[in-house]
């Protein structure tokens, strides 16, 4: 075990520091794991490979986990992959169960992180060979599968699907990106928009605009009344956290972690699809689907275990194909190249020490994340007690910092915040549903590339079904998912009428 000699105290210290800094980045609305890794990337020059990787892996795990904090406390997803955490987390926080929600999420995160690290360690090369069986067609179907969440997520299926389509359309604005296989032509915009929208709207500013800024505008409309003392969110009012909340969640944990790992493993699907997909599946299979979206712990478990499982999953193609699985690992690849280390199909075999130390770092970062957050939560949860007149300006300020920095300094991204803040405020009033719209926006552009490329390369529509057994299985899952969500909608409607009758 030569690699043990590589694990110096400073190695663990850096992994821990990375994890904690990552949590802070993830917890600030607008700052993401990707950004945390990107800003610390130059540090790896001086740190050396193993120490540098420890830091970056810590940042990755911490950043992904930190996103749950604003999602629960402020209804703003701290990172795109924690969007589904807002659905149940915020309602719980409003019931006074912020601390409980946070703790559930952290435990789920730890489970997801460990699960994927273990999968990574034992099955990376085999899984990478499986991942390359996913061509354009199968990738499109995966995206389509994730999109089927729109049906189960919307309050009204018709409006939900309509909103989702608007989201897809918004994501198509700009260039049909050459680096994704497009032809580099502009569409859906007037000439005067070209300097700003050549790359389209960026995901993160759209997201925090729709969730963060629009909430502030709504509040302003209502006069920004501070909660009177008796209405003030009481941190101790709701059900306290107990581990028995995970009773009956084993299936959920395992399924969501597997989905997270798997989505992370497929290059080009995008990390946010992981939590979206596992959330849908949990809703479809749940005993009480009508409770999800209103503060059900199982929703949090699905969302958070999936997005932490992403970390190990996304490292699989990076280390066994040399291809990043998500946007953060795309930055991580820079750490290897800066050190003159090549990633590719032979990486693990040729750098066995690095490989062991990375897996160790990943596991350790998860442990640190868990401990740091579990004990810090009591204080973190107090954010909800800050008066709005102090909190709101700071949120706007931090959103501006995050939006500006997400693409390394583009002012239009800051304007996007405001644009979508106003849009989100108006959407709420005219019946357009924001959650399906965001999901359409997140998945829209990759749906396009894979759909068009499938047809372009094979020249027939039927290829979407007949391409491979994997495609057939995916179709089965898609149909099942849609049917289930329609049944759930029917049921909840019936319940509503029954309740109204009583």
């Amino acid at each position: 075990m030569e690699f043990l000699e590589l694990l110096s105290p400073s190695y663990f210290l850096l992994a821990a520091a990375g994890s904690i800094i990552g949590i802070i980045f993830g917890a600030i609305p607008g700052m993401t794991a990707t950004m945390a890794v990107a800003v610390c990337l130059p540090l790896t020059y001086t740190l050396g490979l193993h120490e540098g990787l420890a830091l970056l892996l810590g940042l990755y795990v911490g950043g992904i986990s930190g996103g749950l904090v604003p999602a629960i406390l402020l209804n703003i997803p701290g990172t795109p992959s924690s969007i589904t955490t807002t659905f149940d987390g915020y309602p719980m926080a409003q019931r006074g169960e912020a601390e409980r929600a946070l703790k559930i999420c952290i435990v789920a995160s730890l489970f997801g992180g460990f699960f994927s690290a273990i999968i990574l360690f034992f099955f990376a090369p085999i899984l990478a060979d499986f991942a390359i069986k996913f061509s354009y067609v199968e990738k499109f179907l995966m995206i389509f599968f994730a999109m089927s969440v729109i049906a189960s997520l919307s309050k009204n299926i018709l409006m939900g699907v309509f909103s989702g389509l608007i989201g897809v359309l918004l994501s198509l604005i700009g260039t049909y990106d050459v680096s994704n296989g497009g032809n580099g032509e502009y569409r859906l915009m007037a000439t005067w928009m070209e300097p700003y929208l050549a790359y389209g709207f960026s995901l993160l500013p759209v997201l925090i605009g729709l969730f963060g800024i629009s909430t502030i505008i709504e509040e302003a409309e209502k006069g920004v009344k501070e909660n009177s003392l008796e209405n003030k969110v009481n941190l101790t009012k709701g059900t306290p956290f107990r581990f028995n909340v995970f009773k009956g969640q084993t299936g959920n944990l395992l399924r969501s972690s597997s989905i997270g790992t798997f989505i992370g493993m497929l290059p080009g699907i995008g990390g946010s699809a992981a939590s979206i997909l596992s959330y849908t599946q949990q809703k479809n299979l749940s005993k009480n689907p009508e409770k999800m979206g209103k503060g059900a712990p199982e929703g949090l478990v699905a969302s958070e275990s999936a997005n932490n499982a992403l970390t190990g999953g996304a490292l699989i193609p990076l280390l066994s194909l040399g291809i990043p699985g998500d946007s953060t690992t795309a930055v991580l690849i820079g750490a290897f190249t800066l050190q003159g280390l090549q990633v590719g199909p032979l990486f693990i075999g040729e750098n066995i020490d690095t490989w062991y130390s990375m897996v160790t770092g990943l596991m350790f970062a998860n442990v640190v994340m868990f401990i740091a957050m579990f004990y810090a939560i009591r204080y973190i949860a107090k954010v909800v007690l800050i008066p709005k007149f102090i909190l709101y300006p700071i949120i706007v300020m931090m959103c501006a910092v995050g939006a500006y920095a997400i693409n390394y300094g583009i002012m239009f991204d800051v304007w996007t915040l405001f644009l979508f803040g106003v849009a989100g405020w108006i959407f709420g009033k005219i019946g357009i549903e924001v959650a399906p719209l965001v999901i359409g926006f997140i998945l829209g552009s990759s749906a396009e590339v894979y759909f068009v490329k499938s047809l372009e390369s094979y020249g027939e529509y039927s290829i979407l079904v007949t391409k491979s057994p994997i495609a057939l299985v995916l179709w089965g899952l898609i149909i099942l998912s849609i049917v289930l969500s329609v049944i759930i909608h029917r049921k909840s409607k019936q319940q509503a009428t029954e309740e109204a009758a009583q």
Binding site: A38, I132, A198, L321, G322, Q342, V449
Partner: protein, 350 residues
Amino acid sequence: MKNIMHTAKVMLLAGSVVAAPAITFAADNPIRGNIRIVIGSKSTGGDTYQASSIIAEALAAKIDANIKVDAVGFSAGYQALERVPSGNTLMIFHDQAYLGHLYKQKGYEDPFKQWQIGPSFATNPGNGYLVPKNSPYKNMDEILNAAGNGQTIRVAIQPGGVSEIGYTAMKNAVRLAYPGQEDNLVALNTGSQSDKNQAMFDGLADVINGSVQANEQYTRLPADDQKAMNFVWLTAKSSTLQNANPEGMGQTSRDELLQYASGLGVRVPMDAENDFTFDKEFFFLYNKRMSPEVVAFLDNALAEVFADGKVQETLKKSFFIPNFRTSAEAQKHFKAKRDSYAKIIESLQK
């Protein structure tokens, strides 16, 4: 009143004392404040970011300034460069700057008109083409001859730039040897390197564009692995590649790589006399309104960086080839390079 005047004088004096070191600093560095280098790529894992970071670090140490590299992409990079003529914002890009324009990509203007060309500093000799290990084609000649004899050959590229130029050259070579048969080479337009590899695994492409850095390990896989590939061509000049690190990349030495290099192992003719070669070179772009004083200052600073000789080692370690030209030399060099590629791109447009 007198008192107030006195206080003002004292304050002025104090102010000038504080400002004094700044003045001497400004004497040799005409750029005040921090410098931001925007790059034409949005990726921090790519070669542009890597080369830019190396040169930015060396330059920052030389001129004692804060320099930050931002991967904003070409379109946002151009906008940032346009706005700041003081030299506080610079850009680093590569041959894509003019190739994008030649291929009429959206958002690319003629860089020679729109910007000042700054110094060049490094070459990435890794751009190349690969076939699957079980491919019927073993080398470039077989591919070109097969296309000339009516076989359809599908080449996976990312259209509109560096990735397409080699494909254009192959097409041109087929046209020269077998006039009218060049359309048997078909472009499969994909995006990132992973898309190109995937196109090969899916059997959609016969040849893919790739690079030594990204694909070297795939060439060392056993032949029965469906991911295994072989290089057939590296577009860099063999004389350029000869300056690379002798260890090459991974387990493949420079000499092994040289057998795929243009002009040595592989001949892809550009016209009757010359072979086609393509070196991907990185260079600075400046705002048109940036003063000659700043241009000269940066030229000198970079010349000194290269005279010190340390940056060359760092570049070579990462499989780049040091390649310094002053602004004026670079301007002339890239114009000539652009003109020669413009010719073959035009000759294929009917």
